[in-house]
């Protein structure tokens, strides 16, 4: 179902859009100080009260989809609907205190001029207040609450994204004042993407690649790296080893902004989680909707696709797990998916298939010169080549379409 054009047009959406600002530490400290002063003012007023925390609602019903006018990038955004968290509701009291605890911790980090990862934050909070913070997830949620309260990005709060991401391929990175990194000659693990968004924003990038390929699985990433796939088809391979983190998305966005002609393709498992990951790269997410809309990219779904199923042996198919079914339902009901994606998703739901390991097998065949173990026999060699042919065809089409030779070589 295509979203309503008026509702999703940039102007309309931007009026409704609520954003977390990228702010320098001094401004964030000032916002926190204002928060404390407002709290104390209400506490000591003639009719004293305990202020509620107005948190931007990070729920589906407060979200929308905006389409770029001049680009074909669409992104999820959050609007201004707020839910008030109160100390006076017994079920909310702990979550209320958690927000203040994280705010106090961030304030201290900013005063010291440091950066901390969410993991470090978790350990510190676990020491200070073990009854309040039992898991990393609770810390992450509380951090998002502070973002929703102060309307500034997580990075502005002094929290570094914990990055799992890696990049490899036809790209040269120059860290200011540091060494130059040629990503086509580094080890198979690739260049580890730092969680410090400031450093990422200062990187100088050079590339002659035609494609950026986002890869879900680290194993696939490493397999393609080992085979120097990026030299056969000029591309950059990037992965966040699962669900995308902000740093990987940030870098992807930077690469696509620096090289707007590069096509971004995604190679995911054929299951609802894979599609959800693709959607996050493509549109952002509701839970981090205040900032993630900035890093949406025009990502195209390369594979696996439904038309690859016919050459896949039945024995590698697996049943959808309950969390797959849940993800599928939530994706279906969101406004994000275009028709073709919806069709594939409903096929997944109907046939209850998920493929995880087959992705590995398929890619064995993408390498023309591969002589390693084939797990699935001849038919997969065909399917692997089919995918490869698709890629080669797309590559050739792009080359024909461009009039000038855009290959930049250092």
């Amino acid at each position: 179902m295509e979203p309503n054009l008026l509702e999703s047009s940039l102007f309309y959406a931007d009026q409704r859009l609520c954003s977390a600002e990228i702010l320098p530490p001094s401004q964030v400290r000032a916002r926190i100080e204002v928060a404390v002063l407002n709290f104390l003012k209400n506490l000591t007023a003639s009719n004293p009260t305990i202020s509620n925390l107005p948190l931007i609602s990070r729920k589906y019903d407060n979200s929308g989809l905006r389409h770029g006018l001049l680009s074909d990038v669409s992104s999820v955004f959050l609007s201004h609907s707020v839910c008030a968290r109160s100390l006076m509701r017994a079920n909310n009291a702990k979550a209320f205190v958690r927000v203040w605890m994280v705010m106090a911790m961030c304030f201290r980090i900013l005063v010291q001029g440091k950066l901390a990862t969410q993991r470090e934050l978790f350990y510190k909070l676990l020491c200070d207040a073990p009854e309040y913070f039992r898991s990393q997830r609770q810390v992450n949620r509380a951090v998002q609450d502070v973002v929703a309260l102060l309307r500034c990005t997580r990075h502005s709060l002094g929290i570094m994204a914990s990055s799992r991401g890696a990049v490899i391929g036809r790209m040269v990175l120059e860290e200011p004042g540091e060494q130059i990194v040629d990503c086509s000659v580094i080890g198979n693990a690739g260049y580890a993407i730092t969680g410090d968004l400031c450093t990422l924003s200062k990187l100088v990038l050079h590339s002659d690649a035609r494609y950026i390929i986002i890869i879900e699985k680290d194993a696939i990433f490493q397999r393609l790296a080992e085979d120097h796939f990026f030299n056969q088809i000029p591309c950059i391979l990037i992965t966040s080893k699962g669900y995308p983190d902000i740093a990987t998305r940030f870098l992807l966005h930077r690469i696509s902004q620096t090289f707007p002609d590069m096509t971004i393709l995604a190679l995911m498992d054929w299951n609802p989680a894979g599609l959800a990951i693709l959607c996050t790269y493509k549109f952002g997410s509701v839970t981090t909707g205040l900032e993630s809309y900035r890093y949406a990219c025009n990502v195209k779904w390369l594979g696996l696709r439904a038309d690859d199923l016919q050459i896949i042996p039945q024995q590698v198919m697996m049943q959808l797990k309950p969390h797959d079914i849940k993800t599928a339902k939530s994706l279906m009901s969101s406004k994000l998916l275009q028709e073709r994606y919806q069709a594939e998703l409903s096929l997944m739901q109907r046939r209850l298939y998920r493929l995880i390991t087959f992705n590995v097998i398929l890619l064995h065949e993408i390498r023309e010169k591969s002589s390693k173990v084939h797990r699935s026999g001849k038919r997969n060699a065909v399917s692997g080549k089919r995918a490869m042919r698709r890629l080669v065809r797309a590559h050739a089409r792009t080359r024909r379409e461009t009039s000038a030779n855009c290959c930049e070589r250092k």
Partner: protein, 431 residues
């Protein structure tokens, strides 16, 4: 419970009840004298009980309804006879009767009228009822019941009523006597005091004397009356002046545990419920027990006759306590919230003091009413914030949820504000 009581005790209580009513009707200063003679050496041992009052004369109607359940008592132990002597203020004679409670109500031999005695001197009214019974095998047990019973009557400080108890033990070597007299102060309390006020005063005195175990207030446990917290409540279902109905009056006293307390206190740290019907001590009725147990002590929600009236009165008394002593009886909900306050205040204090902006410090100190930056340690700021938050929680306790949740937001909001933020359990958050 009444079922445990002997017929003697039930009859004793009923006769005292009737005497108290006669005194109350008189509306003048009256005396209620209880005299018990214990004949321990006879076989079987028996007691002779006499209850006399100077209230209005009796018309005997109330005695006709007496039925303390004598079927279980053999006539050897008690013949069922009551000797009644009564006279009204205007009567010229003092009337004498013998009432046989073993006889049926309609029987002619139930009431035997004896020759009256001429009232030669004085204008007076009163009644005396006597009976002898050997039902109580253990006289000491019986006396152990009688004494606290009579002390409870003292507790009420019923206006214009002086009560006394005399016990005579007749043994081989002669007689010995016990007396229990009410304090003069109790009798002469200002008449303007309501029943409830009297009840409260006596309950306080009762508690301060460790349930009358002591002759005077315990100085070790109660250095002052401030250690008592009390509340009263009255509920009535009487529709109009002429309507029938009931009034229930409740007084609650709570003592806080002190660091120093005497042995009695250490051994008796329990709650006690005393129930009176028409100024006479009774066992706690089933409806009262139902009312007390059905009160939702966690948050005093009103749930939904006799029981409802008692419950209403107790609730009013509890609310009175809450209103007077903030923080004493918090609802479970408020206690749950209050448990988080020390962590919140400590967090806020830590945040304030971790700033290196002196203007921010001084603004916070000024808002909190703290003297100067130098005196602002983390502990003082923490304590100040904590105390203010707790006070707000206590003030809001018992208010409707809507009122509680209507505090202002920390920042102004442009968009629609939803009531509350549920915790998200299932969202996967980007790391």
């Amino acid at each position: 419970m009444a079922t445990d009581f002997s017929s003697t005790r039930r009859l004793f209580r009923s006769l005292i009840y009737l005497a108290v009513q006669r005194c109350r009707i008189a509306e003048t200063l009256c005396r209620l004298s209880i005299s018990i003679r214990c004949f321990r050496v006879s076989t079987p041992p028996f007691v002779r009980i006499s209850i006399s009052d100077t209230g209005v004369g009796s018309s005997l109607v109330e005695f006709q309804d007496l039925d303390p359940g004598m079927c279980s008592v053999s006539s050897d132990k008690w013949d069922g006879m009551l000797s009644i002597t009564t006279t009204g203020i205007r009567d010229k004679d003092i009337h004498n009767y013998r009432l046989n409670l073993r006889e049926a109500l309609t029987s002619k031999s139930r009431l035997n009228t004896l020759p009256p005695t001429r009232k030669n001197h004085g204008t007076f009214s009163g009644t005396e009822v006597c009976f002898s019974t050997a039902e109580e095998d253990n006289v000491d047990d019986f006396m152990a019941w009688v004494f606290p019973f009579v002390q409870k009557i003292f507790l009420l400080k019923t206006p214009n009523l002086a009560v006394d108890l005399t016990v005579e033990h007749t043994e081989n070597l002669g007689s010995r006597y016990n007396h229990l007299l009410q304090e003069t102060d109790d009798i002469y309390l200002p008449l303007s005091l309501s029943n409830n006020e009297r009840l409260l005063l006596s309950l306080q005195s009762y508690v301060l004397r460790h349930r009358n175990a002591l002759d005077k207030e315990c100085q070790l446990c109660f250095t002052s009356r401030d250690h008592l917290q009390f509340g009263t409540g009255v509920a009535s279902n009487i529709q109009n002046v002429r309507g029938s109905g009931q009034i229930v009056e409740v007084a609650i006293v709570i003592t806080s545990v002190q660091s120093q307390c005497c042995l009695w206190r250490l051994n008796h740290a329990t709650s006690q419920v005393m129930y009176f019907q028409e100024f006479t001590p009774f066992s706690v009725s089933q409806s009262s027990i139902d009312a007390l147990t059905s009160i939702n002590w966690r948050n005093y929600e009103r749930t939904s006759a006799d029981r409802n009236l008692i419950k209403k009165a107790v609730k009013i008394a509890l609310d009175d306590l809450k209103a007077k002593y903030a923080g004493l009886l918090l609802s479970f909900h408020s206690i749950k919230i209050r448990n988080h306050v020390p962590d919140l205040s400590r967090t806020l204090a830590g945040l304030i003091l971790s700033s290196n902006d002196p203007e921010f410090h001084s603004e916070c100190a000024s808002l909190l009413g703290l003297q100067s930056n130098d005196a602002c340690t983390k502990e003082t700021v923490d304590a100040c914030i904590r105390e203010k938050i707790i006070r707000i929680i206590e003030m809001n306790d018992g208010k409707m949820k809507v009122e509680r949740g209507s505090a202002p937001c920390l920042f102004e909001c442009e968009g629609q504000v939803k009531e509350h933020c549920p915790e998200d359990k299932d969202d996967s958050v980007e790391e």
